[in-house]
Protein backbone atom coordinates (compact mmCIF):
# COMPACT_ATOMS: atom_id res chain seq x y z
CA UNK A 1 0.00 0.00 0.00
CA UNK A 2 1.41 3.37 -0.94
CA UNK A 3 0.24 5.44 2.01
CA UNK A 4 -1.50 4.21 5.11
CA UNK A 5 -4.90 5.75 5.69
CA UNK A 6 -5.09 8.52 8.25
CA UNK A 7 -1.29 8.76 8.33
CA UNK A 8 1.06 11.48 7.19
CA UNK A 9 3.24 10.03 4.39
CA UNK A 10 6.88 9.43 5.19
CA UNK A 11 9.59 10.82 2.88
CA UNK A 12 9.94 7.34 1.37
CA UNK A 13 6.23 7.18 0.70
CA UNK A 14 6.34 10.65 -0.82
CA UNK A 15 9.09 9.51 -3.15
CA UNK A 16 7.02 6.47 -4.07
CA UNK A 17 4.07 8.75 -4.76
CA UNK A 18 6.22 10.83 -7.09
CA UNK A 19 7.64 7.77 -8.84
CA UNK A 20 4.21 6.31 -9.39
CA UNK A 21 2.25 9.33 -10.49
CA UNK A 22 4.66 11.83 -12.06
CA UNK A 23 4.77 10.00 -15.40
CA UNK A 24 0.99 9.63 -15.49
CA UNK A 25 0.43 13.30 -14.72
CA UNK A 26 3.00 14.22 -17.39
CA UNK A 27 1.12 12.08 -19.96
CA UNK A 28 -2.16 13.70 -18.99
CA UNK A 29 -0.61 17.13 -19.31
CA UNK A 30 0.92 16.40 -22.71
CA UNK A 31 -2.37 15.04 -24.00
CA UNK A 32 -4.48 17.96 -22.85
CA UNK A 33 -2.04 20.88 -22.99
CA UNK A 34 0.14 19.77 -25.94
CA UNK A 35 3.02 21.54 -24.28
CA UNK A 36 6.04 19.89 -22.62
CA UNK A 37 6.73 22.78 -20.23
CA UNK A 38 3.06 22.97 -19.28
CA UNK A 39 3.06 19.22 -18.58
CA UNK A 40 6.12 19.54 -16.30
CA UNK A 41 4.48 22.40 -14.42
CA UNK A 42 1.38 20.27 -14.05
CA UNK A 43 3.41 17.43 -12.51
CA UNK A 44 4.80 19.78 -9.86
CA UNK A 45 1.48 21.50 -9.16
CA UNK A 46 -0.55 18.31 -8.89
CA UNK A 47 1.96 16.53 -6.68
CA UNK A 48 2.25 19.54 -4.38
CA UNK A 49 -1.51 19.69 -4.00
CA UNK A 50 -1.86 15.94 -3.47
CA UNK A 51 0.97 15.84 -0.94
CA UNK A 52 -0.59 18.76 0.89
CA UNK A 53 -3.88 16.89 1.12
CA UNK A 54 -2.14 13.72 2.28
CA UNK A 55 -0.12 15.57 4.90
CA UNK A 56 -3.29 17.20 6.14
CA UNK A 57 -4.90 13.77 6.40
CA UNK A 58 -7.61 14.75 3.94
CA UNK A 59 -7.24 11.68 1.69
CA UNK A 60 -8.80 8.91 3.66
CA UNK A 61 -9.33 6.11 1.17
CA UNK A 62 -5.93 5.19 -0.23
CA UNK A 63 -7.48 2.97 -2.89
CA UNK A 64 -8.99 6.13 -4.35
CA UNK A 65 -5.60 7.83 -4.67
CA UNK A 66 -5.29 7.32 -8.48
CA UNK A 67 -8.74 8.85 -8.98
CA UNK A 68 -7.88 11.67 -6.61
CA UNK A 69 -4.68 12.46 -8.51
CA UNK A 70 -6.55 12.29 -11.83
CA UNK A 71 -9.29 14.56 -10.49
CA UNK A 72 -6.64 17.06 -9.41
CA UNK A 73 -5.11 16.91 -12.91
CA UNK A 74 -8.49 17.61 -14.48
CA UNK A 75 -9.19 20.56 -12.21
CA UNK A 76 -5.78 22.17 -12.77
CA UNK A 77 -5.85 21.65 -16.54
CA UNK A 78 -9.34 23.16 -16.76
CA UNK A 79 -8.12 26.19 -14.82
CA UNK A 80 -4.98 26.43 -16.92
CA UNK A 81 -6.92 26.27 -20.19
CA UNK A 82 -9.32 28.95 -18.98
CA UNK A 83 -6.38 31.12 -17.92
CA UNK A 84 -4.70 30.55 -21.27
CA UNK A 85 -7.86 31.55 -23.15
CA UNK A 86 -7.99 34.79 -21.14
CA UNK A 87 -4.30 35.41 -21.80
CA UNK A 88 -4.78 34.87 -25.55
CA UNK A 89 -7.76 37.20 -25.63
CA UNK A 90 -5.66 39.88 -23.96
CA UNK A 91 -2.75 39.30 -26.36
CA UNK A 92 -5.09 39.64 -29.34
CA UNK A 93 -6.71 42.73 -27.91
CA UNK A 94 -3.41 44.49 -27.34
CA UNK A 95 -1.72 43.02 -30.42
CA UNK A 96 1.17 41.55 -28.50
CA UNK A 97 3.98 40.05 -30.56
CA UNK A 98 3.68 36.47 -31.72
CA UNK A 99 5.32 33.97 -29.40
CA UNK A 100 8.74 32.83 -30.58
CA UNK A 101 9.13 29.37 -32.12
CA UNK A 102 9.59 26.70 -29.55
CA UNK A 103 13.26 25.67 -29.77
CA UNK A 104 13.88 22.05 -30.63
CA UNK A 105 14.28 19.89 -27.58
CA UNK A 106 17.76 19.03 -26.41
CA UNK A 107 16.52 15.48 -26.59
CA UNK A 108 17.47 15.26 -30.26
CA UNK A 109 16.51 11.73 -31.03
CA UNK A 110 17.69 9.73 -33.97
CA UNK A 111 16.26 11.77 -36.82
CA UNK A 112 18.13 9.87 -39.49
CA UNK A 113 16.42 6.72 -38.33
CA UNK A 114 13.10 8.55 -38.29
CA UNK A 115 13.50 9.59 -41.93
CA UNK A 116 14.41 6.03 -42.91
CA UNK A 117 11.45 4.57 -41.06
CA UNK A 118 9.05 7.19 -42.41
CA UNK A 119 10.27 6.40 -45.94
CA UNK A 120 9.16 2.78 -45.47
CA UNK A 121 5.54 3.83 -44.92
CA UNK A 122 3.14 4.23 -47.83
CA UNK A 123 2.44 7.79 -49.02
CA UNK A 124 -0.96 7.84 -47.37
CA UNK A 125 0.34 6.38 -44.12
CA UNK A 126 3.10 8.99 -44.05
CA UNK A 127 0.67 11.83 -44.67
CA UNK A 128 -1.69 10.55 -41.98
CA UNK A 129 1.21 10.18 -39.53
CA UNK A 130 2.29 13.78 -40.05
CA UNK A 131 -1.27 15.10 -39.87
CA UNK A 132 -1.89 13.15 -36.65
CA UNK A 133 1.33 13.76 -34.74
CA UNK A 134 2.58 17.02 -36.19
CA UNK A 135 -0.56 18.90 -37.24
CA UNK A 136 -2.63 17.42 -34.35
CA UNK A 137 -5.59 16.55 -36.58
CA UNK A 138 -8.28 14.09 -35.51
CA UNK A 139 -9.36 11.21 -37.74
CA UNK A 140 -12.51 13.13 -38.73
CA UNK A 141 -10.51 16.17 -39.83
CA UNK A 142 -8.01 14.04 -41.77
CA UNK A 143 -10.85 12.09 -43.39
CA UNK A 144 -12.40 15.33 -44.68
CA UNK A 145 -9.14 16.44 -46.23
CA UNK A 146 -8.28 13.09 -47.80
CA UNK A 147 -11.76 11.92 -48.87
CA UNK A 148 -11.61 8.70 -46.91
CA UNK A 149 -13.68 7.52 -43.95
CA UNK A 150 -12.61 8.34 -40.38
CA UNK A 151 -12.46 4.61 -39.67
CA UNK A 152 -10.09 4.16 -42.58
CA UNK A 153 -7.88 6.91 -41.16
CA UNK A 154 -7.88 5.30 -37.72
CA UNK A 155 -6.93 1.88 -39.10
CA UNK A 156 -4.14 3.34 -41.27
CA UNK A 157 -2.89 5.52 -38.42
CA UNK A 158 -2.76 2.58 -36.02
CA UNK A 159 -0.86 0.41 -38.54
CA UNK A 160 1.51 3.22 -39.47
CA UNK A 161 2.31 3.90 -35.82
CA UNK A 162 2.97 0.22 -35.11
CA UNK A 163 5.26 -0.03 -38.15
CA UNK A 164 7.07 3.17 -37.20
CA UNK A 165 7.61 2.09 -33.61
CA UNK A 166 8.83 -1.33 -34.64
CA UNK A 167 11.25 0.19 -37.16
CA UNK A 168 12.56 2.84 -34.78
CA UNK A 169 13.03 0.44 -31.88
CA UNK A 170 14.80 -2.18 -34.01
CA UNK A 171 18.45 -2.71 -32.98
Amino acid sequence: MLVSPWMIPSPVEEEELYRRFARRIRLYGLRHLRDADGAEDLVQDVLLLVLGKLRAGEVRDVDQLPSFVLGTCRMLVRNKIRGEARRRALLERFEAPVSPIEPPSELRLDMTRLAECMAKLSERARTITVLSFYADRSSTEIAEEMWVSPNNVRVMRHRALAALQQCMEAP
Binding site: F21, R23, R24, L27, Y28, L30, R31, P66, S67, V69, L70, I101, P104, S105, L107, R108, L109, M111, T112, L114, A115, E116, M118, A119, S122, E123, R124, R126, T127, T129, V130, L131, S132, F133, Y134, A135, D136, R137, S138, S139, T140, E141, I142, E145, M146, W147, P150, R154, R157, H158, L161, A162, L164, Q165, M168
Partner: protein, 185 residues
Amino acid sequence: MSCPNVTAGVFVDYWCGDLDRTATEAFEEHLFACDACTTEAERLVATAKRVREGTALGDVASLILTRSAIDRLRQDEVPVRHYTVREGETVPCQATPDHFSVVHLRLDGPTPRTRVDLGVETARGEIIRYEDVPINHLDGEISLAWPGDMVRAQPSGVLTITLTEVAGSEKRLLGQYKLAHSAAD
Protein backbone atom coordinates in the same frame (compact mmCIF):
# COMPACT_ATOMS: atom_id res chain seq x y z
CA MET B 1 4.23 -6.26 -20.98
CA SER B 2 0.78 -5.51 -22.33
CA CYS B 3 -2.53 -4.87 -20.63
CA PRO B 4 -5.35 -7.29 -21.42
CA ASN B 5 -7.97 -4.63 -20.75
CA VAL B 6 -7.01 -2.14 -23.46
CA THR B 7 -6.71 -2.70 -27.20
CA ALA B 8 -3.70 -1.22 -28.98
CA GLY B 9 -5.70 1.27 -31.06
CA VAL B 10 -7.09 2.98 -27.96
CA PHE B 11 -3.76 4.67 -27.17
CA VAL B 12 -3.50 6.47 -30.47
CA ASP B 13 -7.24 7.26 -30.52
CA TYR B 14 -6.85 8.80 -27.07
CA TRP B 15 -3.77 10.79 -28.03
CA CYS B 16 -5.39 12.09 -31.22
CA GLY B 17 -8.66 13.07 -29.56
CA ASP B 18 -10.73 10.39 -31.28
CA LEU B 19 -12.33 8.93 -28.16
CA ASP B 20 -15.58 10.48 -26.98
CA ARG B 21 -15.67 12.10 -23.58
CA THR B 22 -16.92 9.04 -21.72
CA ALA B 23 -14.31 6.76 -23.30
CA THR B 24 -11.57 9.34 -22.68
CA GLU B 25 -12.44 9.62 -19.00
CA ALA B 26 -12.70 5.83 -18.62
CA PHE B 27 -9.31 5.36 -20.27
CA GLU B 28 -7.72 7.99 -18.05
CA GLU B 29 -9.11 6.32 -14.91
CA HIS B 30 -7.53 3.08 -16.10
CA LEU B 31 -4.25 4.76 -17.11
CA PHE B 32 -3.75 6.23 -13.65
CA ALA B 33 -3.88 2.76 -12.12
CA CYS B 34 -2.14 0.65 -14.78
CA ASP B 35 1.66 0.50 -15.17
CA ALA B 36 1.58 -1.39 -18.47
CA CYS B 37 -0.69 1.18 -20.11
CA THR B 38 1.39 4.05 -18.74
CA THR B 39 4.50 2.52 -20.33
CA GLU B 40 2.68 1.98 -23.64
CA ALA B 41 1.33 5.54 -23.62
CA GLU B 42 4.85 6.89 -22.99
CA ARG B 43 6.08 4.87 -25.97
CA LEU B 44 3.42 6.47 -28.16
CA VAL B 45 4.25 9.95 -26.88
CA ALA B 46 7.95 9.39 -27.62
CA THR B 47 7.14 8.45 -31.21
CA ALA B 48 4.75 11.39 -31.61
CA LYS B 49 7.49 13.69 -30.29
CA ARG B 50 9.99 12.35 -32.82
CA VAL B 51 7.55 12.85 -35.68
CA ARG B 52 6.69 16.36 -34.49
CA GLU B 53 10.28 17.49 -34.06
CA GLY B 54 11.50 15.68 -37.18
CA THR B 55 8.81 17.29 -39.32
CA ALA B 56 9.49 20.78 -37.97
CA LEU B 57 13.19 20.35 -38.74
CA GLY B 58 12.68 18.80 -42.19
CA ASP B 59 14.31 15.60 -40.91
CA VAL B 60 11.70 13.31 -42.43
CA ALA B 61 11.27 11.55 -45.73
CA SER B 62 9.53 13.29 -48.63
CA LEU B 63 5.86 13.86 -47.91
CA ILE B 64 2.61 14.53 -49.65
CA LEU B 65 1.03 17.30 -47.60
CA THR B 66 -2.52 18.49 -47.20
CA ARG B 67 -3.66 22.01 -46.43
CA SER B 68 -3.75 21.61 -42.66
CA ALA B 69 -0.18 20.28 -42.56
CA ILE B 70 0.96 23.22 -44.69
CA ASP B 71 -0.94 25.60 -42.41
CA ARG B 72 0.77 24.09 -39.40
CA LEU B 73 4.23 24.50 -40.95
CA ARG B 74 3.37 28.15 -41.59
CA GLN B 75 2.05 28.61 -38.06
CA ASP B 76 5.27 27.09 -36.66
CA GLU B 77 7.30 29.39 -38.92
CA VAL B 78 9.13 26.43 -40.42
CA PRO B 79 11.22 27.69 -43.37
CA VAL B 80 9.42 26.36 -46.45
CA ARG B 81 9.85 27.33 -50.12
CA HIS B 82 6.65 26.94 -52.17
CA TYR B 83 6.37 26.42 -55.95
CA THR B 84 3.05 26.20 -57.76
CA VAL B 85 3.12 24.44 -61.11
CA ARG B 86 0.34 23.96 -63.66
CA GLU B 87 0.17 21.10 -66.13
CA GLY B 88 2.65 21.67 -68.98
CA GLU B 89 4.47 24.50 -67.19
CA THR B 90 8.15 24.72 -66.30
CA VAL B 91 8.81 26.66 -63.12
CA PRO B 92 12.30 27.72 -61.95
CA CYS B 93 13.37 26.55 -58.51
CA GLN B 94 16.58 26.59 -56.55
CA ALA B 95 18.40 25.00 -53.66
CA THR B 96 17.84 27.06 -50.51
CA PRO B 97 18.50 26.62 -46.79
CA ASP B 98 14.77 26.01 -46.23
CA HIS B 99 13.66 22.91 -44.34
CA PHE B 100 11.27 21.92 -47.13
CA SER B 101 10.51 22.73 -50.74
CA VAL B 102 6.84 22.13 -51.49
CA VAL B 103 5.72 21.75 -55.08
CA HIS B 104 1.98 22.33 -55.54
CA LEU B 105 0.82 20.50 -58.65
CA ARG B 106 -2.47 22.06 -59.79
CA LEU B 107 -4.91 19.52 -61.20
CA ASP B 108 -6.89 20.50 -64.27
CA GLY B 109 -10.48 19.27 -64.43
CA PRO B 110 -12.33 17.21 -61.84
CA THR B 111 -10.31 15.69 -59.02
CA PRO B 112 -9.69 11.98 -59.69
CA ARG B 113 -11.52 9.62 -57.35
CA THR B 114 -9.28 6.66 -58.14
CA ARG B 115 -5.63 6.06 -57.34
CA VAL B 116 -3.08 8.60 -58.56
CA ASP B 117 0.62 7.74 -58.86
CA LEU B 118 3.36 10.34 -59.04
CA GLY B 119 6.78 9.93 -60.60
CA VAL B 120 9.74 12.31 -60.48
CA GLU B 121 12.50 12.02 -63.03
CA THR B 122 15.50 13.90 -61.69
CA ALA B 123 18.16 15.69 -63.73
CA ARG B 124 20.38 12.64 -63.16
CA GLY B 125 17.76 10.45 -64.81
CA GLU B 126 16.72 8.72 -61.57
CA ILE B 127 13.03 7.93 -61.20
CA ILE B 128 11.41 8.38 -57.79
CA ARG B 129 7.95 6.81 -57.58
CA TYR B 130 5.16 7.69 -55.18
CA GLU B 131 2.17 5.36 -55.32
CA ASP B 132 -1.42 6.22 -54.42
CA VAL B 133 -0.65 9.77 -53.38
CA PRO B 134 -3.15 11.70 -51.26
CA ILE B 135 -4.78 14.59 -53.11
CA ASN B 136 -5.35 17.89 -51.38
CA HIS B 137 -9.05 17.92 -52.24
CA LEU B 138 -9.69 21.27 -50.62
CA ASP B 139 -7.34 23.00 -53.07
CA GLY B 140 -7.48 20.63 -56.07
CA GLU B 141 -3.76 19.96 -56.00
CA ILE B 142 -1.09 17.52 -54.92
CA SER B 143 1.53 19.06 -52.65
CA LEU B 144 4.84 17.22 -52.77
CA ALA B 145 7.25 18.24 -49.99
CA TRP B 146 10.91 17.41 -50.27
CA PRO B 147 13.16 17.90 -47.24
CA GLY B 148 15.88 20.51 -47.74
CA ASP B 149 18.72 17.95 -47.81
CA MET B 150 17.02 16.11 -50.65
CA VAL B 151 16.60 19.34 -52.66
CA ARG B 152 20.17 20.47 -52.03
CA ALA B 153 21.48 17.09 -53.25
CA GLN B 154 19.94 17.65 -56.70
CA PRO B 155 22.20 18.83 -59.54
CA SER B 156 21.09 21.69 -61.78
CA GLY B 157 18.70 20.56 -64.47
CA VAL B 158 15.07 19.82 -65.17
CA LEU B 159 12.97 17.61 -62.90
CA THR B 160 9.92 16.15 -64.59
CA ILE B 161 6.95 15.18 -62.48
CA THR B 162 4.33 12.90 -64.01
CA LEU B 163 0.88 12.24 -62.57
CA THR B 164 -0.93 9.06 -63.64
CA GLU B 165 -4.46 8.00 -62.77
CA VAL B 166 -4.69 4.26 -62.13
CA ALA B 167 -7.96 2.31 -62.22
CA GLY B 168 -7.37 -1.46 -62.13
CA SER B 169 -5.05 -2.23 -65.02
CA GLU B 170 -5.95 1.02 -66.80
CA LYS B 171 -3.52 3.94 -66.60
CA ARG B 172 -4.17 7.46 -67.81
CA LEU B 173 -1.71 10.32 -67.94
CA LEU B 174 -3.05 13.25 -65.92
CA GLY B 175 -0.22 15.66 -66.67
CA GLN B 176 3.42 16.55 -66.63
CA TYR B 177 4.97 19.31 -64.56
CA LYS B 178 8.54 20.57 -64.78
CA LEU B 179 10.91 22.31 -62.42
CA ALA B 180 14.09 23.93 -63.72
CA HIS B 181 16.33 23.42 -60.73
CA SER B 182 19.42 25.50 -59.93
CA ALA B 183 21.79 23.74 -57.58
CA ALA B 184 23.53 25.62 -54.77
CA ASP B 185 26.82 27.26 -55.69
